[in-house]
């Protein structure tokens, strides 16, 4: 009996899915519940608070807007990276994936400046509930950005060896990594107005 697990590259006819595609969506579902819990915490703490500072009191809106644009752009380049592979253009994939990773890096650099500026002003997670929520939510989101960059970096680098032996499998992997990256973008789309603007 062959040990090959079926439907890693080809789709199963009745579901129309590869194992990896289904797997990543399930993982994303769990991530939705994770961030859901954190948003629920924010709602509960804010509703229960006597007063809640406006985001602008502590936070830099222009920088965060820039970060939002960076993340949205990186999502587009992620799609283009996958599309390049789907059209068998490996070098274009490398360009677009590289830009995606650099955008992620840019996001983190800006976040670094945001955080250090807070610390400089004496604003820490322990200072008050608003800042506790801010640092925790953006911190966990930031960890996901790092995780996504690590995966993308692997696919850009050593992982791309798979392109030569099994291009369809590699394309699927990039597509699935892209789904994770888009979720990271999606979470930020909600985090940004909620924390900074409301």
């Amino acid at each position: 009996m062959s040990m090959e697990i079926p439907y890693t590259v080809d789709v199963r006819p009745d579901t129309g899915l590869t194992n990896g595609k289904l797997g990543i969506w399930l993982f994303l579902a769990s991530e939705v519940m994770l961030f859901g819990a954190l948003f629920a915490s924010y709602v509960m703490l804010r509703v229960g608070a006597h007063e809640w500072p406006a985001g602008a009191t502590y936070l830099n809106i222009p920088l965060a807007t820039l970060n939002t644009v960076i993340l949205i752009s990186s999502s587009v380049t992620m799609v283009l990276a996958w599309a390049s592979l789907a059209k068998r253009d490996f070098s274009r994939f490398r360009v677009f994936m590289g830009i995606t990773i650099l955008c992620g890096l840019g996001f983190l650099v800006i976040k670094y400046f945001e955080y250090t500026s807070k610390f400089h002003h004496g604003y820490f997670p322990a200072t008050n509930t608003f800042l506790g929520v801010y640092f925790t939510l953006t911190g966990l989101h930031g960890l996901h950005v790092i995780g996504g960059m690590a995966v993308n970096g692997y696919l850009w680098g050593p992982g791309s060896a798979l392109w030569k032996t099994d291009p369809v499998h590699f394309t699927n992997r990039v597509e699935n990594a892209g789904l994770f990256w888009h979720l990271v973008n999606l979470v930020w789309i909600f985090l940004f107005p909620i924390l900074y603007l409301l």
């Binding site: 899915l17 289904l22 969506w25 519940m33 709602v43 939002t68 644009v69 599309a83 973008n185 603007l197």
Partner: protein, 109 residues
């Protein structure tokens, strides 16, 4: 993988991908515009409840665009929709019920 499979579907596949890429550019543009709206709405200094509603509405539209086109949900399989539907249904009790129990409290006079 099978070469013939590739070449047979190559043309159809490529056209499909091009369509997908075009859609992604439109979504990109929309997202930038909507981000502008989000920040712009902030400067309108709307009353609190309206501000929250508007911000969440715009964010939901943006999120839907990302999910539908970047994450390709518009052409995804039924199975995935079921999973996500289930998740969505469970997401809202998680988000809202804890706060509701705090709002509806036994009041000691």
């Amino acid at each position: 993988m099978s070469e013939s499979h590739d070449t047979k579907n190559a043309h159809a596949g490529h056209a499909d991908v091009d369509h997908h890429v075009r859609a992604a550019y439109y979504v990109f543009g929309s997202l930038l515009v909507l981000t502008g709206f989000t920040v712009g709405a902030y400067f309108l200094h709307l009353p609190h409840k309206l501000a929250i509603t508007l911000a969440l509405l715009i964010a939901t539209v943006k999120g839907t665009l990302v999910a539908a086109w970047f994450m390709h949900l518009v052409s995804e399989r039924k199975m995935i929709f079921w999973m996500l539907g289930l998740t969505a249904v469970l997401f809202f009790p998680l988000l809202l019920l804890p706060t509701l129990t705090v709002l509806d409290r036994i009041m000691l006079r």
